[in-house]
Amino acid sequence: MNNLLENPWIRGAIVSAPLLILLVGFLAVPLSYIVWGSFEGSKFNFSHYARVFASETNLNILRYTLRTGLIVTLVSLAAGYPVAYLLTKLKSRALSVVSVFLLIPLFTAFLIRTYAWMVILGREGIINNALIWLGITKEPLTLLNTTFAVVLGMSHVFIPTAIFTMYSAMVRIDHDVARAAQILGAKPVQAFLRVYFPLTLPGVFSAGILIFISAIGFYITPALLGGPSDTMISQLIVAQMTTLLNFEHGYASSIVLLLVTIAVLFIASLFIPLEMIWSSSTVAASDEKPRLAARLFKKVKRAVDPVLSVTETTVHAATRPLLTRSAAWLWAYTIVVLVFLTAPLIVVVILSFSSSPFVVFPPPGLSLQWWEKLANATDWHRSFFFSVQLGIAAACVATIIGTMGAFWLVRTRFPFKKMLFLFALSPLMVPVVIIATSLYVFEARLHILGTFGGLVMGHVLLAVPYVIVVMAAALRNFDPSLEPAAAVHGARPLQTLRLVTLPILKPALLTAGLLAFLTSFDELLVGLFLLGRQTPTLPVKFWGDIAYQIDPLLSTASTLIVVLVTASIITVQFIRDRHNTRISQRIAE
């Protein structure tokens, strides 16, 4: 056994097999099915593509999808940038507090957040009630089912992502650089525009790409908040596959969406290393020549230099009185963003105690009736336990496969390592709606559609990349001399793994497992397609009820979920902090 394990090829094969089987078997093969099916296989009938592009409606949907994606991306980046900047300046305690306020919305299911916006923007919602109460309008405004609602809801979804992605890039920029610029004579606005901002551009860019490709494949929010003219391409695909049953057309639309995504990623790869988008820690400070982006930026800079100078002077004149060392306005802004991010959740929580049978805000009175109803709602209980079961199963499988894969990707040397790392992250790049439809078709062929195993594999596929990102980062920070040290003291390879490697990686494993669980717990589309006749998962149940009627019972269920998610985030954060302080104390001693 130990002899076999010493052969690097055999070890590599054992460690990499589960990941490769998963990616090839449940992603590559199903996708090729779709591609094959989109031109009816050997018939090479490309008429479905022609239909996608011939119909004015479809073209409008494509255009609308791209435009909404772009707007949402820009709004999220602009709203998140100052917050990410403030985070880089915070000490550890304040950072933990602020990041909990960001993590809770980040990990609250898209469905719940979207539901909250339905409550807020509805005819009887807070905004309309407030406007009428203030006497600004007499009639309630139509806020729901508008493009505005879609952009608002989606920005709400993506701002935390924007903040964390930009933060992880910004935090590695030395603040001394900005200080150096100032002592050398740069006014604050100059120091920002000429030194700090250019250094953050790769982070901003990768956050933008991440948000854009997620946004153009987004389903839940546009489906619930948008009107008929706000249809996005993923809704089109779902409609073609489920209600119109026009499969080839659905395949063709999926491929168009996939090609757009690939094109975006290809363009992005000219400017930044792609793996930076999902895991900034993997990109080592490189000695290579600055990429196209930097060169392009230089040219742009030379061109806009006069404009830049004028801007600098005016901005400096305008902001000079505002510049205080305490950065009070930055804090004020951050608090506004945090309120924007958490307020919808608070509305949901308050609504769960409503005494009214309808969704009215503010509620006319308080009561526990909805909680009692939830306590007696056996269908919700079944869904809840099924989702927990599914989440645990998916998290266990994904953590094992992902951790093994991360070991393989980090520890072994082989050519095309970067490519393989990107391949391992590809479930994050392919729009979920395409993964869902392709698995649907593929699992039907294998006759595992509607089985628990089939559903678990779908969720594992979506969760594994997160596990790999977390574990790869942890493994790269792992002191490489610890394992030889264990070996020298007589530990066999498996003992080293059990006694040294895994205990040190415990916090990362915990984070990875939690991420995998939450991915499964919040997942709608794959569940919708692969569920079959099983008990509906919580998001599927939720989805069905929203479509059917909106009542405060949904708020109650949401509140329960938010509380559970919050508790698990705080617990994991706490365990991680404790682990970290223990290790750093040991070093200090």
Partner: protein, 356 residues
């Protein structure tokens, strides 16, 4: 064009923490002054207040005749070299050096000339097109220096600039910095915790401990005539022996050293009956085989506990009763005393001082 810098009664509190106390210092134009102190002594905070990254709680700082406490950093016109260099990674070396001129909107031609001159001064003229991460630590250091002087700042601040370099490079850069300082005749404030750097490079050294300037002097006086025990033990190696002043005679004190031996030492304001510490440098102590009767003054009998051969010299630890005395002797063919040898150590009255 160099300027004087004056710090007047600076106090700095972080909440209840008093980190800089009664800081008073006048630096002449063209002078090279070093803030020397252990880490956490407040020397970096003092430097940050000069640069404008921290505001003093009270007190005033003058650059030439102008008070600068209310000026933001970017209007002070100070050059600074950071501990980790803080070069802008997205700009080439030439763009980095040009930065102070670019933000001041200097004409392009003038900028190019000044950048070339600054790069020449630090001997890096052929590296203008490189990026900082393509340079070694020593080269980055030179670029940081060039960037700090390119706009003829009235004063140059350096925050532990040699800390990240290896020993050999550090020796080399010390000389380079001194050469450039003389060539430009610029006022320099240099912060370090390394006494060797301070002693070699500075015109004057301000020793800082617990937020207070303890002594400001040139290297020789600081080393030879420390004002108190902290300075004596922080700058160079020293022996401190407990003693009591018996009488004052002709400005010198007759003392009893370690309760046993008579001695004569210079006084720093003590009078008869005072207790204090006799301070003497290890290299000022002579060591010889035990004589039947020790000399009349400043001599102790002891046993060699430990003899360390250091190449150019030998370092002895000699136990004399309760005290251990460090002796450094040049290896110039004189006797060598292995551990266990009975010896007598002695020193001249003009080489020892009584400190409180």
């Amino acid at each position: 064009m160099s300027t004087s810098l004056e710090m007047k009664n600076i106090q700095k509190f972080y909440g209840p923490l008093h980190v800089v106390k009664d800081f008073d210092l006048h630096i002449q134009p063209g002078e090279f002054v070093t803030f020397l102190g252990p880490s956490g002594s407040g020397k970096t905070t003092a430097l940050k207040m000069i640069a404008g990254f921290e505001t003093p709680t009270s007190g005033d700082i003058f650059l030439g005749k102008q008070s600068i406490v209310d000026l933001p950093a970017y209007e002070r016109g100070i050059g600074m070299v950071f501990q980790n260099y803080a070069l802008f990674p997205h700009m080439t070396v030439a763009e980095n050096v040009a930065f102070p001129l670019t933000v001041r909107k200097a004409p392009r031609q003038e900028t190019r000339e000044k950048v070339d001159r600054a790069l020449q001064l630090v001997k890096m003229e052929q590296y203008g097109g490189r990026y900082p991460n393509q340079l070694s630590g020593g080269q980055q250091q030179r670029i940081a220096l060039a960037r700090a002087i390119v706009f003829n700042p009235s004063i140059l601040l350096m925050d532990e600039p040699l800390g990240a370099l290896d020993r050999h490079l550090r020796e080399h850069m010390k000389i380079e910095i001194m050469r450039i300082q003389k060539e430009l005749n610029v006022t320099v404030v240099f912060v370090t915790h390394d006494q060797d750097e301070a002693l070699t490079m500075s015109d004057r050294i301000a020793v800082i401990n617990e937020g207070r300037v303890v002594q400001v002097d040139d290297s020789k006086s600081l080393y030879g005539k420390p004002k108190n025990r902290f300075v004596a033990s922080f700058v160079g190696e020293s022996n401190m022996l407990p003693c009591q002043v018996e009488r004052v005679e002709n400005g010198a004190g007759n003392v009893t050293v370690a309760g046993i031996a008579p001695g004569v030492a210079q006084l720093t304001g003590q009078s008869g009956g005072d207790r204090g510490w006799l301070f003497v440098r290890p290299e000022h102590i002579d060591i010889g085989l035990r004589r039947p009767s020790p000399g009349p003054v400043n001599a102790l009998d002891g046993v060699v506990e430990n003899a360390l051969f250091l190449g150019e010299m030998t370092r002895y630890l000699v136990r004399c009763g309760d005290e251990t005395i460090t002796v450094k002797q040049q290896n110039r063919g004189l006797g060598h005393f292995p551990g266990g040898t009975q010896v007598t150590v002695s020193w001249k009255p003009q080489d020892c001082t009584i400190l409180n």
